[in-house]
């Protein structure tokens, strides 16, 4: 029970001179049967890990692109239970760690008793819960205690220094550094203070720091990847997959490769 599988995957990637690239997908966008194909494609294309989004009725941290993908998935009748079961069915073929991103209520409804064991059985080694700040994380952390599943915390640009320290101290898997004040979605520019923010975060953290929110072009991947240990790309991947533009996905992933690590 190490909770380190995601951490190790990122560090290994960094050691090879690459930045970690974690694509976000909306599970069930296009139907549950596409999940396997999408995950195996991303694995083959060079993803370090995959963030599997669970659709929710009230996704307050998400912008239009992911909201719409979620609505498409909800229309297909996709639920956390169905996704767990589906992931378990092709678990042997997935060699990179999966991370589930879900709002808290579906997890509570799923049941805290069974979440850890079911995650492990499905190859899921991390949970990202955007409406679960550090102060409220105790219960879920307890549920994941004796498992390999890391509870991944987010840090925002608005988090003050002492808060960043506290989150970094409790961090498992990696730290998800939110790079904008806002919700998920494509943006053209980032704030000027971001570089210093990510540097401080990396200094405070014993686990890797991945930058996410608003990263949508190969340039973003290179720039923000260069400031962190890797990137998470959501809306741009969701859009490309929805449109069947697999080349765009490859271009984004390739932008994370062969970057000199600055650690």
């Amino acid at each position: 029970m190490t909770k380190k599988l995601v951490t190790q995957a990122i560090m290994q990637c960094n050691e090879q001179g690459n930045k970690a690239f974690v694509p976000y997908i909306m599970a069930g966008d296009g139907g549950l049967q596409t999940l396997k194909k999408t995950i195996l494609f991303l694995q083959e294309a060079g993803a370090t890990a995959i963030e599997v989004g669970i659709p929710f009725s009230d996704p307050v941290a998400d912008g239009d692109v992911i909201q719409q993908a979620g609505e498409r998935a909800l229309a297909e009748g996709i639920t956390l239970r169905k996704i767990m079961k589906e992931l378990a069915s092709f678990r042997e073929e997935v060699k990179i760690p999966l991370v589930i991103m879900t709002y808290l209520n579906p997890v509570l409804s799923y049941g805290l008793q069974s979440i850890a064991a079911d995650c492990e059985a499905s190859g899921v080694y991390g949970l990202i819960v955007p409406d679960l700040p550090l102060e409220e994380s105790g219960l879920l952390k307890e549920a994941l205690k004796n498992s390999d599943v890391a509870l991944i915390q987010l840090v925002s640009l608005t988090s003050p220094a002492e808060r960043i320290e506290a989150i970094a101290k409790a961090a498992e898997g990696f730290i998800y550094a939110v790079t904008v004040n806002g919700i998920t979605g494509v943006r053209s520019s980032f704030t000027e203070g971001l570089e210093g923010h990510l540097e401080r975060l990396k200094a405070a953290s014993s686990v890797p720091v991945l930058a996410g929110f608003g990263i949508s072009t190969p340039e973003h991947v290179r720039t923000l990847g260069g400031l962190a240990d890797g990137v998470i790309v959501g809306s741009a991947i969701v859009t490309a997959l929805h449109e069947g533009d697999y080349e765009k996905v490859r271009t984004l992933i390739n932008a994370s490769k062969n970057q000199l690590t600055n650690s």
């Binding site: 009230d58 209520n105 409804s109 700040p133 102060e135």
Partner: protein, 396 residues
């Protein structure tokens, strides 16, 4: 569900929000604590409540409604007489003054019936703040004139067509807007909902209802009431009314949820009756949801009660059985609108009509020397089109 955090009411409440908002919530908590200690703050709020809102509102002995029910003596706490027509202005003004204290010049709010939106737009016009209000598309249709009122007051009303296009979706959108503009914007949440410290702040700004009622009933009758009835959507008028009575065990408290087409039809907004716990909009509460934890749409003829959860303090009061929560259907509320209009010359909001219907039934079972207070949270002008349509255009 237990955690160690502040802002808990029993197991309910908490701060289930994106990390980006945590700092803003902590700032708000600190600013609010400071404001509570500052006599100048309450002096300023009291000034506006008296001179601008028109407080205190009367506690009116409803003699003909009492006869109609044939039981307890019924009093009406006339929150409908507040400027802008409902209790919502008590909270909007308080929070707008708090925003100014925090140096925030912009306000975002959600609205269901439009009453909170109008109240917030009004407070912002009065105090020179910029205001954007998110409102569900379906609610905009139901409350067209309130949209115009907000616009006239200089507020930017944004239609939300996601989800069911009602209050829950408007809150989602207001939260997204707040996350994106948190540095210069304060979110004036309109009900006793959301992450800590909102349920506490909203309750404190609304408790003027209960404080006045307590004083007034003693003036009228020389004693406290036997029963107090209020409607519950998120629960702001009810918590404001109940809170000063919670320690008086002899005062029975009744919260009335919206049963919509009937609890058994599944088309209702009675989250406490639903008994399922969960997290929505930053708090652990009773929430209408399906087996997979997806939040369900609420259904009520009254836009202000059309919300799939109930504020955390009410959930706790239900759990410890200090308040009895029941529900009233659309049809029953419509009946009460007509009754109160005819016997007292007061057209209540559809929300408040839920409390009126319940109170009349309750009064029948009480003795003639017992006292019952109804929180008449708002007036019915905004609902005339809805009521007329529901009554099939027939003359009543």
């Amino acid at each position: 569900m237990t955690t160690e955090t502040k802002g808990r009411y029993g197991k309910f409440g908490g701060q289930f929000v994106p990390e980006t908002l945590m700092t803003a919530l902590q700032e708000l908590e600190t600013a609010y604590e400071e404001a509570q200690q500052d006599p100048a703050f309450s002096k300023e709020l009291d000034y506006y409540l008296k001179e601008f809102v028109g407080r205190e509102t009367p506690l009116f002995f409803a003699e003909r409604l009492t006869k109609h029910a044939g039981g307890a003596k019924i009093y009406l706490k006339r929150e409908d007489l507040n400027h802008t027509g409902a209790h919502k202005i008590n909270n909007s003004l308080g929070q707008a003054l708090l925003a100014i204290r925090m140096g925030k010049k912009k306000i975002v709010a959600e609205t269901g019936a439009g009453q909170h939106g109008v109240a917030t737009a009004t407070a912002c016009a009065l105090l020179g703040l910029e205001c954007v209000v998110f409102m569900g598309k379906e609610d905009i249709r139901r409350q067209e004139l309130n949209v115009f009122r907000m616009e006239l007051l200089g507020t930017n009303v944004v239609s939300v067509d996601k989800g069911s296009g009602t209050l829950k979706d408007a809150v989602n959108e207001a939260l997204r807007y707040w996350v994106s503009n948190v540095e210069d914007t304060h979110y004036i949440l309109g009900s006793a909902l959301g992450p800590h410290p909102f349920p506490q702040i909203v309750r404190d700004f609304q408790r003027v209802i209960g404080d006045e009622t307590r004083k007034q009933i003693v003036e009228h009758e020389g004693r406290l009431p036997d029963a107090v009835v209020a409607c519950i959507g998120g629960g702001s008028n009810a918590i404001g009314m109940f809170h000063p009575f919670v320690d008086d065990q002899d005062v029975k408290l009744y919260g009335v949820e919206a049963a919509g087409s009937g609890i058994s039809t599944g088309k209702h907004a009675a989250a406490i009756a639903g008994k399922q716990e969960g997290v929505l909009h930053g708090a652990y509460m009773y929430v209408l949801q399906d087996d997979d934890g997806f939040i369900q749409e609420a259904h009520s003829i009254s836009a202000g009660l059309d919300y799939p959860a109930v504020g955390p303090e009410h959930c706790h009061l239900a759990d410890i059985k200090r308040v009895q929560y029941d529900s009233v259907t659309d049809q029953q509320a419509l009946e009460a609108v007509q009754v109160l209009s005819r016997v007292e010359g007061i057209i209540p909001a559809l929300e408040s009509a839920h409390a009126v219907y319940y109170a009349v039934q309750l009064a029948k079972e009480m003795k003639e020397d017992e006292l019952l207070v109804i929180c008449l949270s708002g007036r019915g002008d905004k609902d005339m089109q809805t009521v007329r349509d529901a009554l099939g255009g027939q003359s009543v």
